[in-house]
């Protein structure tokens, strides 16, 4: 297998950049656990866009402002190496930018995605995918659907429990006629959808057309893939709100900072992959000039999760049309291709008025 991949890659690197032979249909198994993790929205404590130390503050209608940590207890999907769930599968450098998103689940049309899901977090959680095929036993959502018994084991896996989700990837889960070589889907916990997603249980799926897939499933016509999720995280809806929010929030609902016009209190985090105020490490979003870069961009689930991702410095092609601003509404998934020609460190942020000032901005770097 290793040898075959090596050969394939050698062929792929050959003259004319001819597409390699598509891999045979396979079952791709992922070991994913829901873990309780301390997540820092501003790692390093510095607002990387202003260069100043960043502190967060809770403002209350009738008492003095209180300090708020940028560190929150969250429940995140994390990938393990095997079914023992002892060893985390380390993220390769090119995927470190995923931040608090779950591991990328990749497949080629015709494959089957098999997820061994372990819930290590307090509560019941599930994995509900978009786009791919699933039977009732792999839908990961409890509602009155006429199922019972084993078909409901997927609805919410208790703490310490494990469930295997099987998601075949038929043609209709792959790129359509106007899509490129790959499409973006996502998965998230759907046991208590709002709380689960705001707690952090969401991740990406990329499906590549069989004819355009490399052996590792990546699209042959793309050199670098980047997934970004624009999420207005409502920490008050998190399962850990009690621990995360300052105790005074029990007495009074925090309000937005006096003089600010957004109307949002401190616990609404305007994030890209769980980073705010430019804190996504620049080295994790570094691309080279001339690279075929595919940006997979999606929005999260909360009301007013409308976003307008905007690249400074370079433009993208969106379904064959040129732009540098996307339009996202809730849970919308968009694929945009960029061939950067402008070397430098550039802003990538949401263009919705105060979303950026509230932290929804990161930097990407284009090198020679």
């Amino acid at each position: 297998m290793r040898l075959a991949l090596l050969l394939l890659s050698l062929v792929g690197a050959g003259p004319g950049r001819r597409p390699t032979a598509p891999p045979p249909p396979m079952t791709r198994t992922y070991y994913v656990a829901a873990d309780t993790v301390r997540w820092n929205y501003v790692p390093g404590g510095i607002d990387q866009l202003s260069g100043r130390p960043y502190t967060d503050t809770a403002f209350f209608p009738d008492s003095a402002p209180r300090p708020v940590s940028t560190v929150y207890l969250k429940i995140l999907y994390r990938e393990y190496t095997d079914a023992t769930f002892q060893t985390l599968n380390p993220r390769p450098p090119e995927w470190r930018h995923l931040g608090f998103l779950g591991p990328l689940l990749r497949a080629v049309v015709g494959d089957t995605i098999r997820v061994v899901f372990r819930n290590n977090a307090p509560g019941r959680f599930s994995m509900h995918p978009h786009g791919v095929f699933y039977e009732k036993s792999s839908e990961g959502a409890p509602y009155v659907d006429g199922t019972s018994g084993a078909d409901t084991a997927d609805d919410g896996v208790p703490q310490g429990g494990t469930h295997v989700y099987v998601w075949p990837v038929p043609l209709r889960a792959g790129p359509g006629p106007n899509d490129g070589s790959s499409v973006l889907w996502m998965y998230h916990s759907h046991t208590d959808e709002v709380r689960d997603i705001n707690s952090g249980l969401i991740g990406p799926i990329i499906i590549t057309a069989r004819a355009k897939a490399r052996a590792d499933g990546t699209p042959v016509d793309v050199d670098r893939e980047i997934v970004t999720a624009f999420a207005q995280v409502e920490e008050a809806s998190s399962w850990f709100a009690d621990q995360n929010l300052p105790p005074f929030a029990k007495r009074a609902i925090p309000r937005s900072e006096p003089g600010r016009f957004d109307g949002y209190p401190f616990h609404v985090e305007f994030t890209i992959n769980g980073f705010t105020h430019g804190s996504l490490p620049l080295e994790d979003l570094t691309i080279r000039r001339g690279q075929r870069v595919r940006w997979y961009v999606f929005a999260s689930t909360n009301d007013f999760d409308f976003h307008a991702p905007h690249w400074h410095g370079n433009t993208v092609l969106l379904n064959g049309m040129r732009t540098d601003v996307l339009q996202l509404s809730m849970m919308q998934m968009v694929v945009a291709d960029m061939i950067p020609d402008n070397v430098g460190t550039w802003l990538f942020h949401c263009h919705v008025s105060f979303h950026f000032t509230d932290g929804m901005g990161v930097r990407y770097r284009v090198t020679e």
């Binding site: 301390r38 820092n40 390093g44 404590g45 130390p53 502190t55 503050t57 009738d62 008492s63 003095a64 402002p65 209180r66 300090p67 708020v68 940590s69 560190v71 300052p246 105790p247 005074f248 029990k250 007495r251």
Partner: protein, 556 residues
Amino acid sequence: MRAWEQSAATVLRAIGLESIQRKILVFGIIATLVPSLGIAWVSYAQNKRALTDKIAQELGLLAAPGASGIELWRRQHLFDLRVFAGSELIAGAARTGAGGERRRADYLASVRSHYADYDALAVLDLQGRVVAVSSRSGRSVPLPADWQSQLRTAGEIVGEPYRGPDGKPMIVLAMPIRSASGRGLAIGTLAAVVDLHALTDDIRRYVPRDSGRFFVTTGDGLLIAGVAADSLKLRAVAKPLDARLTPGTMRGLTARPGEATEYGSFGGRRVVGTLEPVERLNWAVLAEVPSSAAFRQIAHLRNVTLGVVTAMFVSVGLLAYVLGLLIIHPLNRLAQGAATVAEGDLAVDIPVIGGGEVGRLTTIFNHMVDRLREGREALERLTVTDGLTGLFNRRRLMETLAVEAERSQRGAGPFTVLMIDVDHFKQYNDSHGHQAGDTVLSRVAEVLRDVIRQVDTAARYGGEEFLLLLPQTSAEAAVEVAERLRKKVSSAELDGERVTVSVGVAEYPGNGDTVEGVIAAADAALYRAKMDGRDRVVRSSVRSRPSTTARRRRDG
């Protein structure tokens, strides 16, 4: 029966309640006061209890969240410390203890500037050495001597309230600094001095209405913070860490948390309040309102009740007094009447006003007096008349003569006395019997009554002798009367037999200037008529001696 009446009467006399009027008055007042005051008292007690329950409920609605608020304050400030300690700058400072000193100091200073209730912040390394500090007063954090063992066992330090350098109440808090990465091992300590005066802002929302006050105290009643409507005044009477509730008050309050208790509060004010403990801090909160304000409603009710009772008291007293008068006046009249009767005067007639017992008693009394009067008159009649003839008897005659002699002496003119004797009465009596003799006497008496005027007096002088007194009549006129009488007697027949009388006429004072004299003169004239052959009238020829008359007049 008589025994208890006797003892009741003794008691009534002892308390000065013998008069009916006083009894009525006292009964009226007691009958008014006892039920009305009884009902008022029951109503007052019930209302006070209901109001106390309501106050307890209202104060509980402040004290309970107030206590939770203080607990929240504790958790919030420990949370604050965790947030500060979570900063990578602090974690770095504690871990390395070297380098970036200025940045750490800047951070602590920035934290203090943002969160004004932190008076001092210090970072200590695992050995307990202060590696960074920022303080308003320039002093570091006065950690308790055993702070390291406290921190190990409890995971946090919450000190006792103490007085800071500028007199403000302060408290020391401390939390371990844990490494942001790895297993979160303690790498140092973040200690802080928190200004408890800032609590006043947090507790303002729990102050009861109606000039209420809200206090935070230690478990033994030492004041930590307080808020009142009249805060300025409060500051004078209740200085934090100075004012203290008495142990007794505190015991009473802590024994009944959540209930309304009346006690003397800070500044000596009498209040109704509710205590709620703040368990984790061994503190307590007190929500209180002045008793006067709390019980204003029932004080008003009490005043209204007292007003009504007083009005009832006065009007019933007045009514009882008037009723008493209505009973007492007739009784007094009866008593007066009885007294008059007792003195012998039977000319008493008490007016009967209204009915009822006293009215009936008055009627009966009047009736009784009437009867008495009638009896006396009958008795009097018997004592002045002659039983056989119905004429006045000799005693009455003598009284009348004495009166007439007085009148005559006062100038009423002379009067005449006619002495009449039935002729041969003794033989008649012997031959016809006493009964027939009595009939003759009655017949003569009838004739006497027929011939005399209203003003004249006819009397049976004795045996078959009669005497006529003719006031203001001269002897000449009297002789005519005597002739008329003699003829009338002799013209009548008694059982076929003729009866005659002889008459002696004497004038006063011409024939005698004393009663005895004039009678003697008439008697002497009668004797002469008998001597002259009976059935005739003889006028006295006696002349009274002027000297004697004059002397008698002088004597009166």
